[in-house]
């Protein structure tokens, strides 16, 4: 039987979430790059154009989901990398909660920015 070779603990909830977010991000990141570099161009960026996109509820929802999944996937990836390097004990707990706090700040700031563009009062 083929030996399983993976850095992650198979079967765990975080392991599965890392892969589900990966599949989602593959599609949305490709869309993001394509829309903002090939359909529109980097030197054409303006508050008005960003605002016009973000005022559409479908685009706004997709970008919020993009922000949350990318943050989870990235920060969980960092945590996994550190655990693979031998992070244990109190250090592991401290770093885990620091990463959780950094994620919360990132998501909050991202939502505030999206709200500012979408004309939603909460920012």
């Amino acid at each position: 039987m083929a030996e399983r070779y993976s850095s992650f603990q198979s079967g765990g909830r975080m392991w599965l979430l890392q892969r589900i977010t990966a599949a989602f991000l593959l599609v949305v990141l490709a869309f993001h790059f394509f829309l903002l570099h090939f359909v529109h161009h980097a030197d054409e960026v303006s508050f008005l154009a960003s605002s016009a996109r973000m005022e559409q509820i479908s685009y706004y929802s997709l970008m919020i989901l993009f922000l949350v999944t990318a943050t989870f996937h990235g920060v969980n990836g960092v945590y996994n990398a550190l655990v693979n390097q031998g992070l244990t004990g109190t250090k592991r707990t401290v770093i885990k909660w620091t990463l959780v706090a950094a994620s919360a700040v990132l998501i909050l700031q991202g939502v505030r920015t999206a709200n500012a563009w979408a004309g939603i009062g909460l920012y």
């Binding site: 039987m1 508050f47 990132l106 991202g110 505030r112 500012a116």
Partner: protein, 141 residues
């Protein structure tokens, strides 16, 4: 039957001369992952200039004189930023292609050809990056 497999300390990078394709894929995936999460924090920080910009008058926004538009336009006028964007694209494309390879291997597809699919990821990353250079550099000169 489940077996234990002594893979040694794979995190010991001093063994790099012994690494095979799969190990390089693992290292590149990790490196590109670190770059991407670092970029995500930077990206949101820069985009956050949209928050004060929203408070600027309508006239300033219409004229593109708000802090968000000005920040992005200034950054995009720098050739260095455009080149870094090409680098970011290369990093993102590799992470996506190699990530697809990992998802497939996790689903039991292509384990026997995992070295070939790593080389294919590298070649495709190079091709997509080179093909994107004109679009990413347009207007920088």
């Amino acid at each position: 039957m489940s077996q234990s497999y002594n893979r040694g300390l794979i995190e010991d990078f001093s063994r790099w001369r012994e690494f095979e394709a799969g190990m390089w894929a693992w290292i590149f995936h990790k490196f590109t992952g670190w770059v991407l999460i670092g970029y995500l924090f930077t990206h949101i920080a820069v985009l956050s200039t949209g928050i004060p910009a929203a408070g600027a008058g309508e006239a300033a926004i219409m004229a593109g004189e708000d802090v968000y538009t000005q920040t992005i336009v200034s950054l995009e006028s720098l050739l260095l930023v455009r080149l870094l964007e090409v680098g970011l694209l290369a990093v993102a494309v590799f992470h996506m292609l190699n990530g697809t390879r990992l998802l497939l291997v996790d689903l039991g597809v292509g384990l026997d050809a995992q070295d070939k699919s790593f080389y294919a990821s590298l070649i495709l990353t190079g091709a997509i990056t080179v093909a994107s250079v004109p679009t990413f550099i347009a207007g920088a000169f």
